[in-house]
């Protein structure tokens, strides 16, 4: 953390992580203002279980944490930006047969873009969040992002879209801490949210039923479910209810000839055709990625590790930056269930190099 005191906007969701992050920014001597982002146009009054956020209760929890810390607190209405970028993108991606990650999009377009830009314009220097990731300034003067100390909580994947400009105005005070320590610290600081459950799932789909939410939003769009030979095995009400690698909920009347489970292999958005097949057919090793975002400029071609979904495994891979728009990633060992639309975040050890969106997957002929 910088020695110079900064004017900091602490984004406070009402959860324990962002409250402790704000507290640590205060302790570091920064001039901190708590800001709760209103992302929903019609906030619900109360949280239901671990799902959803942005309820009035969350806003009040954030306000109480700010009171405890003795910092000013405001609510910023970002519901329009959130609807226009994150929610619309989520719907458009599913409509196109891809599997988006809205949290990553929110970090890219809202928290470290709309919010950061507004904060900078209003005279702040940085935005602090409760994300688990570490920032370091390298010998070259560039800000580097690393995986969090707590690998189980590490959120560098959903931050892999941040550019140098964004990173240089970000603070992640929890990067060197485990969740247990954060909860204990919250308790010690007298923060009311110390024992509040973590939130999971997608914040704007309160009941966690993504398929149901999409069906309601997009209406039924029936299509066939076929096997790899094209034989029709069943029908569905909307291809957007499926994601690559999905096994459950296929509702196929006919069992596979070999009796083994079948997985979603491909989604063709125009005809709405969903192709299913055995696990072996799911594995791929070539990822053609688009729209790369680099933390500090494009990397040299070579061996890196990649992560392909939130909390997913690391894979060793050869990364080749074709041009400004495309990156080819070749996995050393084939992997299963990789969905176009997801981000491929590239690491050099613990350091985030950048990210790109998976556009197409395939298998090398030689294998």
């Amino acid at each position: 953390m910088t020695a110079r005191p900064l004017r900091v906007v602490a984004a406070m969701s009402g959860g324990v992580d962002s409250a402790v992050a704000a507290a640590r920014a205060v302790d570091a001597g920064h001039d901190v203002t708590g800001v709760h982002l209103a992302l929903s146009r019609n906030p619900r009054s109360y949280r239901s279980g671990a799902r959803g956020c942005c309820s009035i209760e969350d806003s009040n929890d954030a306000r109480r944490a700010a009171d405890t810390l003795g910092i000013p607190f405001y609510v910023w209405d970002m519901s329009e930006e959130f609807a226009d970028t994150v929610v619309d993108d989520f719907v458009a991606e599913y409509t196109a047969g891809r599997t988006p990650n809205p949290c990553l999009r929110c970090n890219e377009k809202i928290k470290f873009a709309a919010v950061l830009d507004r904060a900078l314009a209003l005279g702040f220097d940085a935005v602090a969040t409760g994300h688990y990731a570490r920032l370091e300034t390298g010998a070259d003067g560039f800000v580097q992002m690393h995986r969090a100390e707590d690998h189980g909580k590490d959120q560098s994947y959903v931050l892999g879209v941040l550019t140098q400009q964004q990173l240089s105005h970000s603070l992640f005070p929890l990067g060197d801490t485990t969740k247990d320590v954060v909860r204990a610290e919250a308790e010690h600081r007298g923060l009311q949210v110390a024992r509040k459950p973590d939130s999971h799932d997608i914040c704007f789909i309160a009941d966690g039923d993504n398929a149901g939410w999409l069906t309601e939003k997009l209406g039924p769009k029936p299509g066939p479910i076929v096997d790899e030979s094209g034989e029709v095995l069943g029908a569905h009400e909307g291809a957007y209810a499926f994601t690559i690698g999905q096994r459950r909920g296929l509702r196929l009347g006919v069992p596979a000839p070999d009796g083994k489970p079948r997985f979603v292999l491909d989604i063709e958005p125009v005809s709405g055709t969903v192709t299913v097949g055995p696990r072996e057919s799911l594995t791929v090793d070539v990822l053609d990625c688009v729209k790369p975002l680099w933390c500090a400029g494009p990397p040299a071609d070579g061996e890196y590790t990649v992560q392909l979904r939130a909390h997913g495994d690391e894979h060793a891979a050869r990364v080749e930056v074709a041009d400004d728009e495309t990156v080819r990633v070749e996995l050393i060992d084939p992997a299963a269930g990789i969905a176009p639309g997801q981000a491929c975040v590239i690491y050099d050890g613990t350091r985030v190099v950048g990210s790109a969106t998976i556009d197409r997957t395939s298998r090398l002929a030689r294998r």
């Binding site: 405001y74 709309a114 507004r118 209003l122 005279g123």
Partner: protein, 401 residues
């Protein structure tokens, strides 16, 4: 610079500091033992305080003591008036299903009216306003006269809380009385800043609350003629003419009476002083932000505008950003209204006046009160240029134009 206040409080329309005398009375009365409904000596002594307070309040408002019904404040008084009159008038004649109200009412009136429409089958007729925020009387007249026998009640606020625009209550009363329709007025913002005379106004019911005039939060009154018997919202011990049950808050009421008494006695002098401060504020704002637009009725006085409210649109800015930046500089004001989660909402009053949503979001309300000083105003004018510059930049980032 001398006497710079720690905080320049320019939000007196939200709540205003209690008079020291009202605090003294309140703390003294809090020590008093006795339920004002008890029959023994202590109870009678407590009741005497309540009744003397009622008499004082009645006198200062031009009402009879029996017309003063104490309750928890403006929201409750408005709910009691509009729901209570709707139900009691309907009980007498089921065809009385219409409620005539204005588009600029406070939520404490707007929401019970829409609740009646949604849950009780009321038909609502909303009176539009002009660009200064004053109701269009002819529209109200035609709403009433289209079918007078079906109107349960007419309600129009005395002065608008965001704009300060004073409404033509005389004319509203004249139109409704021709047809024997009761008229209610929410006078929460007007009380203390313009003379109020309930009897002379010929209103049937009027809402006032203590904390807008230097009394405590948590007490107010519905002043309502004895011939009306609104259906109660709260049922219980039958206090307050059986219109408003609940143990009587002796200390709150005594403090309310003290505050109202002082406010009314000093009203002419206070209003004149505050009007001069407002002029200083408006001139200063215009000087440092030449494109700022002052909304509402430019003329002051009991038929035009409250002396204490200046509502200003800053083109190309967002009100909530300015509020935050001013707050950081020790200047406290308001954007109008916020939802329960704290998100600033475009004011329904400005939208009703014909402003678009961007202008409605780019506005601030500065409101003065009995403790306001030139130093408060000067503090605002001193910090405003830098705040305005930043807010305009931030709005540019968000694409507000």
């Amino acid at each position: 610079m001398t006497d710079q206040p720690a905080v320049a409080y320019l939000d007196h329309a939200a709540t205003t500091p209690m008079w020291p005398e009202a605090i003294d009375v309140m703390t003294t009365e809090l020590a008093r033992l006795g339920n004002a409904s008890s029959l023994h000596t202590s109870g009678r002594a407590a009741r005497r305080v309540v009744e003397e307070s009622r008499e004082l309040i009645a006198e200062r408002l031009g009402a009879r003591p029996s017309e003063v019904v104490f309750c928890s404040g403006g929201t409750e008084a408005n709910n009691l008036a509009i729901k209570g009159l709707y139900w009691s008038r309907q009980a007498l004649d089921p065809s009385r299903r219409r409620v005539v109200f204005s588009s600029i009412e406070h939520h404490a009136l707007l929401d019970p009216v829409t609740w009646l429409a949604k849950h009780e089958g009321a038909e609502v007729a909303m009176t539009p306003v002009d660009r200064t925020g004053r109701i269009e009387v002819e529209a109200l007249r035609s709403a009433v006269e289209s079918d007078p026998s079906t109107v349960a009640a007419v309600t129009t606020m005395w002065a608008n809380n965001e704009m300060g625009t004073i409404q033509p209550i005389d004319e509203v009363v004249r139109i409704a009385r021709e047809h024997g329709i009761p008229v209610h007025s929410d006078a929460v913002q007007a009380a203390g800043y313009v003379p109020l005379d309930f009897a002379a106004s010929q209103l049937d019911a009027m809402t006032v609350t203590a904390h807008k005039l230097g009394g405590p939060v948590g007490v107010g009154a519905l002043v309502i003629k004895r011939e009306h018997d609104p259906v109660a919202l709260l049922h219980g011990g039958g206090q307050e003419r059986d219109i408003r049950s609940g143990t009587i808050g002796v200390a709150l009421i005594a403090s309310f009476a003290t505050a109202l008494d002082l406010t009314v006695q000093r009203q002419a002098e206070t209003s004149a002083r505050i009007e001069r401060l407002r002029t200083r504020l408006v001139d200063g704002v215009r000087r440092v932000v030449p494109d700022a637009v002052v909304n509402g009725d430019p003329a002051s006085g009991p038929t035009h505008r409250l002396p204490n409210i200046a509502h200003v649109t800053f083109p190309g800015c967002e009100g909530d950003a300015m509020l935050m930046l001013l707050d950081a500089q020790g200047v406290e004001c308001s954007t109008g209204s916020a939802c329960a989660a704290g998100v600033p909402q475009p004011s329904h009053v400005l939208l009703a006046m014909g402003f678009d949503e961007t202008a409605a979001r780019g506005s601030l309300r500065f409101s003065l009160g009995h403790t306001s000083t030139e130093a408060d105003v000067d503090r605002l004018i001193e910090v405003l240029p830098a705040v305005h510059e930043r807010a305009r930049k931030a709005a540019g980032v968000r694409g507000v134009s």
